[in-house]
Symmetry: C2
DNA sequence: CGGGTGTTTGAATAATGTCAAACCGAGTGG
DNA sequence: CCACTCGGTTTGACATTATTCAAACACCCG
């Protein structure tokens, strides 16, 4: 079992569930640090799907704690990354647990847009997901995601097509997404 | 802003949402370490409600990093706790995102039962939540939680009443909860 | 006895899932 | 250049799940 630093590409991290369902927990973007589990000896709890071609930097777990303890800044950095993951998971939970399908989709796309560009400026971002990824991340059905994206398109809020997101009305979109600007990651 | 170690009692950690909804992110049980945020300077992202009377051990954030870096075992312990929180958040997300109301409720009660007792033995546990807490944690309505608990009762799976959980058929319950025994926290 | 919080009930409604079929565009082999 | 396949998307009709609203109930506490 190893740890990875994702250098390029997108990866979906998910849990297997019964009856053909799966829950996507997070999308790893370049810079993400993945594979760390609270208990090293445990079986791996999630699967990973490469959404695009990826390149990673892999390093072994052996000697990991020693490395951390002899390099405090590294240790502090790791703590920061993991606690940010925790916050992202809680954002995701809030999204799935308390918003309508339309708000959920808008919210997810908005936050991926921000994570993908780290700037609010550009109007079109590459978000290489299929509608099926969105459905699995948000606890919805693929067909309902399709219908909801259509509604968002007809309201002139956004266009999501072929892995490209175009935001037409940022303010109105943030509004229906119930997007809290304090949460900018 | 301080950090807390919960010595006794239950606390609900939640996010405020618009239109009167709130999302409960986690229940803190005795032993939980709460108040740690990835970025110390940020506004606090969640609220906390004491479900029972509580007693906490509070200590200030100032000098926190220095303390960590001069005590590696402490640092390692904190990393463990935070990454376990991350895992709990992802379990919760999986529960809300991919299961029916009945399975969700059964799953939540089962995992709280385990966290509360740390032993599978006892048949009746104190889980001092109202149905409203359950609803807010699972993205459901209070009335639907009530109806679903009734169904669970009628199937002779569990009885949840006045803050006490009684598990009648552990195996059948774990089954409809889609409970994965590998996930025992 | 009265008021408050939490729970239960029922009926009507809205949101989302299911199933099945058609469609669309990109890549592939003839 | 065409026909095919394949993954992904769209559509429509219908079933199910969960929400909403409103009222009654139950229980504890003062």
């Amino acid at each position: 079992m190893e740890l990875y630093n994702l250098l390029d590409g997108w990866i979906a991290l998910y849990r297997f569930e019964q009856q053909g369902r799966r829950q996507i927990l997070d999308f790893a973007l370049p810079g993400s640090f993945i594979g760390f589990e609270p208990d090293f000896s445990r079986a791996l709890l999630h699967g990973a799907e490469c959404i695009t071609d990826v390149s990673v930097c892999v390093f072994p777990k052996s000697g990991f704690h020693e490395l951390m303890e002899s390099h405090p800044p590294l240790s502090r950095r790791l703590l920061y990354l993991i606690s940010r993951d925790k916050m992202i998971a809680q954002d995701h939970l809030t999204n799935v647990g308390s918003r309508s399908a339309q708000a959920r989709i808008a919210h997810l796309l908005l936050s991926l847009h921000i994570r993908a560009t780290q700037t609010d400026g550009t109007r079109e971002t590459s978000i290489p997901l299929t509608q099926n990824h969105i459905a699995d991340a948000l606890g919805l059905t693929t067909v309902y995601v399709s219908q909801t994206l259509k509604r968002l398109r007809e309201q002139n809020l956004l266009i999501f097509k072929a892995g490209k997101l175009e935001i037409l009305e940022p303010d109105a979109l943030a509004d229906i997404a119930e997007f809290d600007h304090l949460l900018l990651v």
